[in-house]
């Protein structure tokens, strides 16, 4: 016996704006049409404009000869090589300044961040002043300042400021042989070379440092060094496992350091130090030999590191403050001294808070490295979106490619970040 109400035919669906499924379909179709229309009109306009200006599109230009020189090249490059090669040179220059900048900024940032939490009021005030000044001045201002106001006012090559690593090494070698440590003295003398002139020069054309010259046997030392690192890594793993199993600790840090440092030193001693330095020599108005670090690079690196370090310091401070005081007190009450407390309890928890914003600062630094174009540092942007764009006029391809490179760097970093976050995330019940 069925109730008449239940057997009524379902009402036919009516066209109604209040139906969420229908509404979402309509909105999305409208958006899709708008996006497609926009893309199509951009494409059509670009084609028409390019045809009018007589510019051929496509990436064929990458094979053409670039015809311009680059002041800093990490891989062999000459004017006759292609734009593609120039792109690669620029990319490597970007990665170089970003990588070194990240290392420097991290070191300064952690030091300043910890200093801001110091009990010592002088240090604390200095660290606060550093953070406020560096964060509130535009990065481009800082780059121009270092380039125009600091590095350009350095003396000319003839009056260079010079620092001697070699005289220092030689002096140490003399001291070592004086007290009978002949092997050490031999090593230092070999490192120093036989020139007692200074090896590092700073002038308005940049920084000149000795160039290491590797002889054939050096590869042996290098591989011993690599093997040492691997052994130290395995040792640390074994020590951790053993501690988890038995509770016994093993000084894996010092043992690892010995594994990395001692065998290459012995090998170097046996092989007679197959490493020497080619020292730069002033000839005429400039230096010959050695490695010249261009002032544009120094200005960009220093400015980026100092600017980003201000932000990193704040992140570090916030991270350390985020670890509750109870954690420290609990560690003390378990009998841990302040060193292990910091190393085993506070820092691992602080890192969880620090790492995500730290990564975005690393990305910012990488993106800010494009500002090197203002002082002429040949990074990817300056070489490609600057010089190459001027020469070829291929605006769409070049800017799209440049943006794509930075986008890929960002996405890769974010992906890495996501993986790390998942690894260190608090495991909750």
């Amino acid at each position: 016996m069925t109730d008449a109400r239940w057997s009524e035919p379902a009402p036919t669906r009516r066209w109604s704006w209040t139906d969420p499924a229908l509404r979402s379909a309509v909105i999305q179709i409208a958006l899709a049409i708008a996006l497609i229309w926009m893309a199509w009109s951009f494409f059509a306009n670009a084609q028409a404009n390019l045809a009018r200006q007589g510019i051929a599109s496509g990436f064929g230009f990458l094979d053409n000869s670039a015809g311009f020189g680059i002041t800093q090249t990490l891989i062999p490059y000459s004017e006759s090589m292609s734009y593609g090669r120039a792109f690669l040179v620029g990319l490597l220059n970007t990665l170089l300044v970003a990588a070194l900048g990240i290392v420097l900024a991290t070191i300064i940032g952690f030091l300043v961040g910890v200093a801001r939490l110091s009990k010592n009021v002088v240090i604390k005030a200095l660290a606060s002043a550093y953070v406020e000044v560096t964060r509130n001045l535009p990065p481009l201002f800082q780059i121009l300042f270092w380039y125009l106001a600091v590095l350009s006012t350095m003396p000319s090559p003839r009056q260079s400021w010079s620092f001697g690593l070699q005289p220092m090494f030689n002096a140490f070698a003399g001291w070592a042989s004086g007290i009978g440590l002949t092997p050490l003295s031999d090593m230092l003398a070999a490192l120093a070379g036989d020139v007692s002139a200074p090896g590092v020069f700073i002038n308005n054309r940049g920084l000149v440092v000795p160039r290491p010259v590797f002889e054939a046997d050096f590869s042996i030392i290098f591989w011993i060094f690599v093997a040492g690192i691997a052994a130290a890594f395995l040792l640390a793993r074994w020590a951790r496992r053993r501690q988890e199993r038995t509770g016994q600790q093993f000084p894996s840090f010092w043992a690892g350091l010995a594994l990395v440092a001692v065998p290459p030193t012995i090998a170097g001693f046996l092989l007679g130090w197959p490493l020497s330095f080619e020292t730069p020599v002033l000839r005429g108005f400039n230096f010959v030999g050695g490695i010249r670090v261009i002032p544009e690079f120094v200005a960009l690196l220093v400015a980026l590191a100092i600017y980003t370090a201000g932000f990193i310091a704040e992140i570090v401070r916030a991270g350390i403050l985020a670890v509750s005081k109870g954690q420290t007190e609990a560690a003390y009450s378990l009998g841990l001294r302040s060193g292990p407390t910091l190393r085993l309890v506070v820092i691992p928890q602080a890192m969880r808070v620090i790492v995500p914003p730290l990564t975005s600062q690393y990305l910012n630094l990488t993106k800010n490295s494009t500002l090197g174009v203002a002082v002429g540092y040949p990074d990817l942007f300056a070489i490609f979106a600057g010089t190459t764009l001027n020469q070829t006029g291929q605006a769409i391809e070049i800017i799209a490619l440049t943006m794509a490179v930075y986008l890929v760097i960002s996405i890769l970093t974010s992906a890495l970040m996501g993986w790390y976050n998942k690894r260190v995330a608090l495991v909750e019940r």
Binding site: A46, L50, K119, N136, F141, V373, A374, L407
Partner: protein, 461 residues
């Protein structure tokens, strides 16, 4: 056991012992200094190091910028050590000589009052907006974000845009009239009128399909067109102000125009993108995510190059865009992506109960956002918006790479002025520019912190 002679074994003294004062080494100035300056050998070394750094930095700065500085003069001679007869610090007459360029760029001298009015009006409108207790926030915000940009636009450019065709003209329908008065062309306004009426008619026709009331829809469309019409009227009308090309703008004017336009334009765009990112419609959600992550993933300078070299290629040939406007478009797109993330943070901070409550009282999603969620979320993100503004203010310096002379660009250009070539011109310029940027950015960051504390307090009740 108590005995008769001694019924009570122990009575606590009624007066407690006085607390002992803390040891001398822990109190007073000495105690403080011991805790904060020289508690241990390491502390002493740190303190000495800090004092050395301060001594190395502060006295030379004071000497350079104040004691040794030259304050009066009309040319480079006044700042040369040979004429002054002592080591010379900062050359402040250089800044005084470049003062007009720093404030106005190459804006014509007779028209500078217009820039002054814009500066003054901006200050008058902004200050009450920044004071949390000041009344009429809504009106004030409307004036600052809606009317002020329009007035500034007319004053700074001179208005009188000479608008020729509106929608219909693009398809060749211009009614064949050529009459014009006060910079307004009859054909343009006829076209505008016809389009308005057409839009109202189609709105009335389609209203029932979308569940709306014919009258209300038509009125809404009329209102929207009226606003657009008034804005265009102001831009099109000939107020008799001479035109000033944006190439003549510069200095602080350009810095502020870019930063303020970036924030004002990015706010609505950022809100839309943030809502889009939280939408349940996959196409809306993913296109918002792609847009946001794209602009956040590339450096601003590539965005400026995109806007300068690539955007003109994407637009129909008849549009020629002014150089500054291109930069503004780039900055607005870039800033809106960052703004979207800030607003999203605010939206996520609103408890779910607010959404559910709004739905329970029968609000549709648009009304729920407008009346319940956004007012709360936007209030939460004001500090974030101010921080975005600080970032944008610093980022405006980048326009000097696309040959627009902002504050830093003007100063950098004047370093090469032979009339002021002195050994300290460069340092004076950097010192001054640094001071301006620092004062702006530091002031805003302090403000944002104070606001954050205030919001925090309000949240806790």
């Amino acid at each position: 056991m108590t005995t008769a002679q001694n019924p009570v074994s122990y009575v606590a003294p009624t007066d407690l012992l006085k607390p002992e004062p803390a040891p001398v080494s822990d109190r007073g100035a000495y105690g403080w200094a011991r805790a904060h300056l020289f508690g241990s050998v390491g502390q002493v070394l740190l303190t000495l190091f800090g004092i050395l750094v301060v001594l190395a930095v502060v006295p030379p700065m004071v000497r350079f910028f104040i004691t040794d500085a030259v304050f009066i003069g009309t040319n480079r001679e006044a700042c040369l050590p040979e004429t002054v007869g002592r080591p010379v610090g900062a050359c402040w007459p250089f800044i005084a000589a470049k003062w007009n360029q720093i404030l106005y760029g190459f804006y014509p001298a007779d028209e500078r009052w217009r820039v002054n009015v814009v500066y003054g009006l901006g200050v008058v409108l902004l200050i009450p907006l920044l004071i949390p207790r000041a009344p009429y926030k809504r009106t004030n915000a409307l004036a600052f974000f809606g009317i002020y940009p329009l007035i500034s636009f007319v004053l700074l450019t001179g208005g009188d845009l000479d608008m020729r065709s509106f929608v219909l003209g693009w398809i060749g329908l211009d009614f064949g009239v050529t009459a014009s008065a006060n910079g307004l062309r009859l054909t343009f306004w006829l076209q505008f009128l016809v389009v308005t009426l057409l839009a109202m008619a189609s709105g009335m026709a389609l209203a029932p399909v979308f569940g709306g009331e014919r009258r209300a829809v038509a009125l809404g469309i009329l209102k929207a067109f009226a606003v657009v019409g008034i804005v265009m009227l102001a831009m099109d009308f000939d107020f008799g102000l001479p035109q000033v090309e944006t190439r003549q703008w510069g200095g602080l004017l350009v810095t502020l125009v870019i930063a303020v336009t970036g924030i004002v334009a990015s706010l609505p765009l950022g809100i839309l993108l943030a809502l889009g990112r939280r939408s349940e419609l996959p196409l809306v959600k993913y296109s918002s995510i792609i847009f946001i992550e794209f602009w956040r993933g590339v450096p601003l300078i590539t965005v400026l190059f995109f806007a300068t070299y690539m955007l003109p290629l994407f637009l129909p040939g008849r549009f020629t865009i002014d150089g500054l406007l291109r930069a503004l478009v780039g900055v607005a797109l870039f800033a809106s992506a960052y703004m979207a993330e800030v607003v999203r943070g605010g939206l996520q901070a609103i408890p779910k109960g607010q959404y559910e409550g709004a739905m329970a009282v029968g609000l549709r999603s648009g009304l729920m956002m407008r009346l319940v969620i956004l007012p709360q979320a936007l209030k939460l993100v004001i500090p974030g918006i101010v921080n975005n503004f600080i970032g944008l203010f610093k980022d405006t310096t980048l326009v000097l790479i696309v040959s627009i002379f902002d504050l830093l660009g003007i100063l950098r250009a004047s370093f090469t002025d032979p009339a002021w070539a002195t050994p300290t011109t460069l340092f004076t310029g950097f010192g001054f520019a640094g001071l301006v940027y620092f004062v702006f950015c530091y002031g805003m960051s302090r403000y944002s912190m104070a606001l954050e504390r205030r919001l925090d307090r309000n949240q806790r009740h």
